[in-house]
């Protein structure tokens, strides 16, 4: 299954506004994307389009997360979402 790692760049971590922006973007992808902390089993990965899942994940600035997706457009979706995670969304 295609996967990518990304380092959280937003100052407040994956909470608040960055989490909302990311969940919304994940929900707009043509494939289902999951997210987990690096080193955690893929089976425990959470739905990246769920803002509540992102909040319970509790990823802080500098944490590394793994995104996974399968199917048509998975690669492009992952690339777009990695880019979002590695942008400081609090600064915008």
């Amino acid at each position: 299954m295609p996967e990518r790692t990304a380092t959280i760049a937003s100052r407040s971590g994956l909470h608040a506004r960055p989490a909302a922006l990311f969940a919304e973007a994940a929900g707009e992808q043509p494939v289902e994307v999951t997210i987990s902390m690096q080193g955690e089993p893929a089976d425990d990965a959470l739905d990246a389009a769920s803002i509540l899942s992102l909040m319970t994940l509790g990823a802080a600035k500098g944490d590394v997360v793994v995104l996974r997706a399968e199917g048509d457009g998975a690669e492009a979706a992952l690339d777009a979402l990695v880019k979002l995670l590695e942008t400081d969304l609090d600064a915008e």
Partner: protein, 566 residues
Amino acid sequence: MQNFQGVGVSPGRIIGSVRQMPKPVSEPPSGERLAEGISPEDAVARLKAAAQSVHDELKGRADTASGDGKAVLEATALMAKDTMLLKSAAKLINAGSSAERAIWEAGASVSEMLHNLGGYMAERATDVLDVRARIVAELRGVPAPGIPASDTPFILVAEDLAPADTATLNPAVVLALVTSGGGPQSHTAIIARSLGLPAVVAAHGVDDLADASEVYVDGAAGFVAVAPSDEQRAAAKAWAETSATLAEFDGNGTTADGHLVPLLANVGGAKDAVAAAALGAQGVGLFRTEFCFLERDTEPSVDEQAAAYKAVFDAFPGKKVVLRTLDAGADKPLPFLTDATEPNPALGVRGYRTDFTTPGVLERQLEAIARADSESEADVWVMAPMISTAAEAGRFASLCAAAGIETPGVMVEVPSAALTSATVLREVGFASLGTNDLTQYAMAADRQLGPLAELNTPWQPAVLRLVQLTVEGAAQEGSGREGDPKPVGVCGEAAADPALAVVLTGLGVTTLSMTARSLAAVGTVLKTVTLEQAQELARLALSAPSALEARDWVRAKLPVLEELGL
């Protein structure tokens, strides 16, 4: 014509149409099953449709909001159609639960999970519960809970408002507040005064007012009338004109004969402080420091506290800022300081007393205050809440001295401190009367209870007598900084009532501190009386057999109040 008499808590005369605040959504009964003939698939589809429409409603409101409010609404909208929430509800539906009960339980477990994570996440736990209630309301086909969203201005009628309602109350749309419950010190009253909205509380029967009916509200007289008369229409029109002139305070609190009574502001943070300075406040008479601590699981660091305090001090360079040390407990619980299981929290370990059970927090706060003080130009005074004895005052003064704080003081809220003010003030430099708690303790009447509203007013002659005793004790105790008696201010809601402000001045109170919105009204009325007249009115109020008569007698001698609609 139908009229309602309640307690006026924030002046203003206005006419508008009623919007009832929907009742809170009740919990679907535990174990509620899917109705006969409804398949789990149908129930899940219904739930999804309800969630979608709650999402759309919130998203629509986010689009017209701005700043922090917009971000919160956007996140809340996303929660409404969150897959984690809806999937766990769908699981319960497939196991036979009703859609209402399923979303209720799913929301509860997600909210608990967030709460346990603490910090920012814990604050969002209540948003999940709000979303859950909205979805249940949608499923039931009843109006969404909370303050109605509306583009046309209205008069909000509710049982009572909670502190959380302040965030969603748009003062550009809400013309006035009327509640059937609550008292003069209730959250509704405090919200109304801080927003400058006319308000009447404890008006029995207003729950039955129909939506869209036209009413006249007099927030000074505590009066609500259905189908306003011509006279009332004229009064509302006159208020619209005078209220503009009452919006600005010239920054000089004085009686007609030049007896100075500095008018200060009560603030809860830097934003309030800046706003208060802009409204002409001559300093801060009560800086509540709880904002730094509330909704926290752990104590903020000295650095963090010092920065927050300095931001307030910086709004008043060269002016007095009276800071109150942490006042946790009772209606302001803090997980790391107070015991939520106390049977009687108002009489429990609260205010200064938390230092008995959790020593160290107060000393670190004083250290942060001293640091912020040394880095700012404000004249910083520091007082402890809930002091009961001279020994406590003495101990607080030595803690302040150890931290390098020059002017320690006490809040007088407990009747014992008022009765022994001479010995209490021997230990410290000043006192400030917290009339809200002083009233609740003197009258043995819970501040939040509507049925006790009549007892719970600072017009009670017993409360005024305690004010007088505190001032007399201060005079006995001799000199403060300038050689005059040690200063005794008032920082409770009483100071914001212009008539009572005159009485307090007559009793010898040296400064009055209030929500910044009230400065102009109090300043205007104070300028119409001499010190001697104020003293005469104070004697009149003290001699009254009841709070109602004290108020009526004093108001009758201050015709300016009626002229201005105060």
